[in-house]
């Protein structure tokens, strides 16, 4: 399934940061949703800013427009404010993209867990993300750090507990 670009993607002004405040807000909202949906589609969990400039998301070769570095930073900052992005370093060159927030992941995982009657059992993290059973689930292939965060979210909700074992981490669901 190929990615469907939103109408703004082919609208040249989309690639210029608008000076008018109201217009800018709408523009940034559109950018955030585009970035997130692109990452979701391609299962991208991290982004490098330098690479992003050349990525088709921010660079539309067909209309010969691309988002300037400054504008990309603005978009990322907007994402961070919303909780969908986390900077990995102080220089703001790499970031984690959470097109789904940890709480949301946690909910999905818990749903699957309860559906399969695995409550009160212990699973390894590997099982959850790469196990045969979870194939077809959205969280299949979830990167460990993301999985961990989701489970931590569940932990705070009291629905799970992360256990450290000899050869890795595991989780017990309640």
């Amino acid at each position: 399934m190929s990615f469907e670009w939103p109408w703004q993607y082919n609208f040249p002004p989309f690639f210029t940061l608008q000076p008018n405040v109201d217009t800018r807000q709408k523009q940034l909202a559109a950018w955030c949703s585009l970035a997130l949906s692109y990452c979701r589609h391609h299962k991208l969990y991290t982004l490098d800013v330098m690479e992003a400039q050349e990525s088709p998301v921010f660079n539309n070769k067909k209309i010969e427009r691309k988002l300037s570095l400054e504008a990309i930073q603005v978009v990322f900052e907007e994402l961070r404010k919303k909780g969908n992005l986390e900077w990995l370093d102080k220089n703001k060159s790499r970031c984690l993209v959470m097109w789904r927030r940890p709480e949301e992941w946690g909910k999905l995982i818990y749903q699957w867990v309860s559906k399969n009657g695995m409550v009160n059992t212990v699973c390894t993290l590997y099982e959850l993300s790469n196990g045969d059973d979870t194939e077809g689930e959205e969280f299949h292939g979830l990167e460990e750090w993301m999985l961990l965060r989701s489970l931590q979210a569940l932990q705070t909700e009291g629905k799970a507990e992360i256990i450290t074992m000899d050869d890795g981490k595991g989780v017990k669901f309640f």
């Binding site: 703004q8 609208f11 040249p12 002004p13 690639f15 000076p19 217009t23 709408k26």
Partner: protein, 390 residues
């Protein structure tokens, strides 16, 4: 009237004629003097009266003899059933005659005051001049010797002018008098000029002090002083704007501009950049060109003078003159239509479309963007405007 002495009526070297007035009748106290109507002459030293018909009958009194004088208003009198029109008079109170006074028309008089009755008007000016001379007391600076006494008192004091010498002398006298009259007339103007020069100098010196922050002038006072100067029409005292080119000038100029600019503005769609106005106006004037500052100041007065023009400053600092009837919303709506029709427009394309200057068309597009009707596309290709689809 016994204070007067016979005189030949000639002015001495240091004596200047101040004013003369025809149709003056003298009164000894309240009674009419036994003299006809004549000419009253006021000099720096004396008050002289000369008979109109008989020029040789001339009397004078030194101004130092005058204690006090006042005006007596004209009016209608009701004496002896016939209402007579009384003319305005000047009443002059005099010192007692000095012992060495030369003989005059009256040996003695019971009155210590005289009156001058102005049958041909002129009393106001005469009175004013008399006041001036009595204040200035110029006779004290340049004492004048008493005129040569004549042999008989009853006869006129002037040495009899006989033959050609007499005629020449008369001509000479008349010429001198005319001369004095003329310089007299211009004395007022030159006095005014002197005062004006002093004022300008004063304001300039104070303005310089303000500039150099010398003296004990506080910030408050500086501002107040500047506001006074402004109200007098000296907008910036340090420049050359103290010669009648103050706000009054700008008001007149604004009115003129209001008339002149109607047609060009309508041709250009109701709006013109101030630079265009400047060029247009100065080209039309030919000479007496306007300075940019004068133009701006005049344009600022449009609103207060209720002219149908307005000076408008955009955010970017561009100043335009526009018709009051010009509606900005209409312009923006039409701009949006144009852009939508063509998909997108640059400022240059828009200018070409509307026949506006590029500067103004850009301003209009920016304004539309500010209102949220347009959005921009800034790339290496240039700045384009699109309808705001966001």
């Amino acid at each position: 009237m016994d204070r007067f002495s016979w005189s030949n009526g000639l002015l001495e070297i240091n004596e200047t004629l101040v004013i003369q007035q025809r149709g003056v009748k003298l009164y000894d106290g309240d009674d009419k003097a036994k003299l006809d109507v004549g000419v009253a002459l006021l000099s720096t030293h004396r008050l002289i009266w000369r008979d109109l018909k008989n020029h040789e009958c001339c009397i004078a009194i030194p101004l130092s003899q005058i204690i006090f004088f006042e005006e007596q208003a004209a009016g209608i009198g009701k004496r002896s059933y016939i209402p007579a029109l009384h003319f305005a008079k000047i009443v002059i109170h005099l010192h007692p005659a000095p012992a060495n006074k030369e003989p005059g028309p009256y040996q003695q008089s019971k009155f210590s005051y005289i009156k001058l009755s102005f049958k041909e008007h002129g009393q106001i000016e005469f009175f004013r001049r008399l006041t001036e001379e009595m204040t200035q007391k110029r006779w004290e600076n340049t004492p004048v010797s008493q005129p040569i006494p004549t042999a008989t008192g009853a006869q006129a004091g002037r040495t009899r002018a006989v033959g050609i010498v007499g005629i020449e002398r008369k001509i000479e006298e008349r010429r001198k008098e005319t001369d004095k009259n003329i310089s007299e007339a211009f004395e007022d103007l030159s006095k005014l000029m002197v005062k004006a020069k002093e004022m300008v100098e004063l304001s300039r010196s104070i303005a310089n002090k303000i500039k150099d922050k010398q003296g004990d002038i506080t910030e408050d006072e500086t501002i107040r002083f500047k506001s006074y100067l402004l109200s007098m029409g000296i907008a910036n005292p340090v420049t050359r704007e103290t010669h009648g080119s103050g706000t009054h000038y700008h008001m007149q100029l604004a009115k003129q501009l209001g008339d002149m600019l109607q047609a060009p503005l309508e041709e250009r769609g109701g709006m013109m950049a101030l630079t265009e106005v400047y060029c247009l106006v100065n080209r039309a004037r030919g000479m007496e060109l306007l300075s940019p500052e004068d133009l701006v100041n005049a344009c600022k007065m449009f609103e207060s003078l209720k002219l149908p023009l307005r000076l408008r400053v955009f955010d970017s600092g561009v100043m335009v003159v526009q018709l009051q009837s010009h509606s900005e919303e209409e312009m923006i709506a039409s701009a949006l239509d144009n852009v939508s029709e063509k998909g997108s427009l640059t400022a240059e394309e828009f200018a070409k479309l509307l026949g506006l200057s590029v500067l103004l068309s850009k301003e209009r597009l920016l304004l539309a963007e500010k209102m949220g009707h347009l959005c921009r596309d800034d790339s290496v290709e240039g700045l384009r405007f699109y309808p705001n689809l966001f």
